[in-house]
Homo-oligomer: 343 residues x 4
């Protein structure tokens, strides 16, 4: 069956897989010390325009979030996140497992608005009892958000300023970063993101890799002995080549952006299909995840032909569902969707 269930339904992009095969026989040292890891880091530094950025490869998004947050925060600090942020709701308490509180703030289309952040912080510091409260130590944003939406350059700039003012680390979860960069409706390029954030990651799992996220510390701020901290969180791969070779491939010949642009192109076509079929959008998403509202009967019929993700009920008769595109989405897949919607 044609599937739009997620952007991690397929394996690796063929170019990634090819590089894994080509390098497979080479003896390489372990734990991320091989030359492919080095080469991948160099290419990423060039991509973001920061020759001194410190980079570390991890396996997945929840792992990257937990490792970064728990190594950067001080003991008495927590991380501010939107109520709909991945760490707030869908990581099974992975941040709390590390001993730190997620300080949830209201969201707007999946985003933390700068004014929301500012209000939260000024109220926090105004509270005379704040020594009995978790100190805010970091702001966590996802870009794109869990709803596919994007921060504007003005928003991210303002949030970054607020973080400076309150001495907070700004951390951007880029599990789907490629789709943000390739979106036709963004004014935020990778250089701006790298300049405005203290740490972010470039998602591989959802953008063409089998696994892997490249965590980037932009300001000489990688925590000391980070490898040891990664090791003791069970997050250090013996065959570091697995992530090194993949990211080396993703950042060769612009593959990361090519994959992302393809998925965005497919998503734009998909939006056209939904529009032409009169299906309302739950939210306006300029990236590869599309949320639409379906009548339950239509949803059930559609589910016989194409796979998608249940999101939430709006009322007894309607449901929000998600369709995601990725490197493997084809025009044929979209045709099938269009046909299925017609029926």
């Amino acid at each position: 069956m044609v599937s739009f269930e997620s952007d991690y339904i397929a394996g690796a992009h063929p170019e990634v897989l090819r590089r894994l095969a080509e390098t497979n026989g080479e003896p390489l040292p372990g734990y991320g010390t091989d030359r492919y890891c080095e080469s991948a880091k160099e290419k990423i530094r060039a991509f973001i325009g920061m020759p001194d950025a410190e980079i570390f490869f991890l396996s997945g998004g929840t792992q990257a979030n937990a490792v970064v947050i728990s190594t950067v925060l001080a003991d008495y600090e927590g991380v501010i996140a939107a109520k709909t942020g991945h760490i707030s709701s869908h990581e099974a308490g992975a941040i709390e497992y590390t001993g730190h509180e997620v300080l949830e703030v209201p969201q707007s289309e999946g985003k933390i608005l700068p004014e929301t952040l500012e209000q939260y912080l000024s109220a926090w510091y105004a509270d005379e009892n704040h020594e009995h409260m978790t100190f805010p130590g970091m702001v966590y944003l996802s870009h794109p958000t869990e709803y596919g939406t994007l921060y504007s350059r003005a928003e991210l700039t303002r949030i970054s300023e607020i973080c400076r003012q309150y001495h907070l680390t700004l951390f951007l979860d880029g599990a789907r970063l490629g789709y943000a960069l390739a979106s036709r409706e963004t004014d935020l390029d990778i250089a701006a993101i790298a300049a405005l954030c203290d740490v972010f990651y470039i998602g591989g799992t959802k953008v063409g890799a089998l696994c892997g996220e490249a965590v980037v510390f932009t300001k000489g701020n990688m925590p000391k002995h980070f490898l040891t901290s990664v090791k003791r969180r069970g997050a250090l791969l013996a065959k570091g080549r697995l992530t090194g070779v993949q990211f080396d491939a993703l950042f060769t010949d612009d593959l990361y952006l090519r994959i992302s642009r393809h998925a965005i192109g497919m998503a734009e076509k998909m939006k056209g299909i939904f529009r032409s079929r009169g299906i309302p959008f739950y939210i306006q998403s300029p990236t590869n995840q599309q949320f639409v509202v379906l009548e339950n009967s239509r949803m059930e019929k559609l589910a016989e032909k194409v796979a998608f993700s249940f999101w939430e009920k709006t009322d007894d008769a309607h449901t929000v569902v998600r369709f995601a595109t990725g490197w493997s989405t084809t025009d044929d897949d979209l045709l099938t969707l269009d046909e299925a919607l017609k029926a």
Copy 2:
């Protein structure tokens, strides 16, 4: 200066102090194995009408919350609490420090309404991704709440039923339990509380002791090797007599209730004073904490004569402040308050 700042501004009730002095010279074994601890437990069992209840003495409220919650919850579980619950807001992330998430739900006058709880749980289990979310494993209530309000028998009964249905432990934070029991507006006696909850604690620190909370497991459900778990959380006193003797005194000749009734009597008189001085209440509290709204200028003048606690601003000109009574509050203190309000 006369102080209504809190119910922990004074030392121990004189009868408690007297017993500490009388028993001071006796050689006693350590770590809670002495005969005063045993005697205190027996008296508490009689008080709550549960001859088989398991009881453990800890030093303070945050400690009691963290120890109970972290030993009762399974790895994958979190605790549901009102957004205004003490563990949600004023324990500096003590629950998260133990690795568990506090699942915040909306509050009404400091309480979790049964319907709120029910909605939260049914929505949680309806979510198809709930294996990627923290499982609700416990409900945390404070009684009185942080706003001095009380659950009714009907409310607690309904919440208890919901907990049974969803296999949740019902935990009641009784840091100020005496004031709930002694309130003139409660229909919940200690027997009902003990029957409806799986674990609760009887606060000593805020009801006449120097320190100490009596944690009560009502259903043969004290976690196995609880003493060892307490020890490894740094919460086991070598001189266990310190809490044993105090609770033995508090549950001799009804002292716990006498202290509580005294504070409630003082609070009722204080309410009369506020009413007669035309000062609006922020919330209707039937216990020993009273929250009123003062004009800022009046608040500043008052602060020269009596001490109280800042709570929160309502607008630029008004502030919510808290006045608390306790075992040491006297009619003279109230007279001073009344005079100060007149001025």
Copy 3:
């Protein structure tokens, strides 16, 4: 350069890689729910002869150890391990990170002898203060050990009996399990291991996979909601296919044992070379890791031609070094080694 540095210097065994490529385009659901994960589990169940075993795929050895130990132990329990055990010494405190103590006991050639275990446990329970001590809750063995040695059937049987007697979980770290099974000097087959242990894992990373360990709970004892616990430790791969397909390949046509036998064969030949060159063994290892003692000058010269691992100094003039074989070791590699030793 020819490398014997470790058994994780090469990529995946070609048959594993081929299956990754063949299945790459298929849309599959995430998080280990795909049919390759299911098929791999079925094949592993058949391999160990336990149709009801519960199996979960994780990424690496330290992760597997930390996840298993922290989800199986009760709050007040620690895990017994040899002083040379991987969790004791080379996981950067990964077990302590989860809040649990590693209870180190003396080792003999990398193993815990049954009598050592028995003495430790009887002394522990004889201690009148043991409620103030970490309770032993599990025994951790590695098989092969960090020194390549193996438990005999008699030893493992006796250890298993002691674990039953003291209600301890017996956990076997099988990061290199294949090399134990394929050894010419073992009387322990997989069925015996599965029967005697409560949980063990079948290492993939060091036996032909790019990453992955198959954790096997043998007695209906997988911790409840294990997936959620894995998720909150950051150990759940979105593309679960990555481990599923690899283990499906490893347990197709006996590949896991073929790889292991090949490495053992190479190791046996390597032992012959060392013997013929008069190089003393540091320890008698019947598996794929060989530890020999080299004069420092010889070691330095050798290092120009072949790669190996530094282990420890024996005195100022001699060093223990490790040579490991794996799926990619060839007769030519051994020839190079032999030549280099001659020079």
Copy 4:
């Protein structure tokens, strides 16, 4: 029965209790912000001769160890301790509960010898794999040790130098510090201890208080927002006066040393009694804990008249037992002991 079971069998020294009673009625702010806490800190600063020392009062020894160690260590660090150190063996894994490893080193009469420490550290840094190991970040000493023995000035000076060299925090557990200072066989005064250590605590529980340990940071090195870190570990008393008043009393008119000298005087007399009765010492202790070897039959008879602590068996016929003195030990108690030994 006369008891030498421990130095925490009696309540508070009468002067401590008197001050608790005298100050009981005063309204005081909570959480350690009262004037008795301030006064006590000033007196302790004068006592140790460090006007800028930072001091925090906690409830007990295990709590003090866990709070200090977990707030001072970096994520990737552990604490070095003697195998017989309290944190290694009798705190039920309280340090591991905070996520940190205790790095056990061999002991000599309960002490870490400087050369043992040096060997451990040079070997650690020589290990090429040390990034996969827990970094040593702190040295934990107890003074007196768990066997009543004392570090000499030369030993502590050398250990302090080693700590400087390797950038380790030197932490001294002074649960019984008074008995070290009052010993007739010490050349280490409080000024030297304060100068050589980075952090230590002055034990109250075992030296005349009902509870309480004064943690002293000597070098402007109290962790930032320490109160918040203490709070989130459940270790902050609401009525901070409880420890403040007690330490204020202990450091008024030399009470802390008077108590300690009394106990030492009693211990010296007790040693004379054992000597005169021909009872061999297990270890030569110059402080308030005495360890002797008794024939089992004699031990059983003695136990009918006086209480003491079982320590360990030496063989089937002999047992090591501990006798401790404290503020409440009297000449009459010793007479009873002498009589009982005669019988």
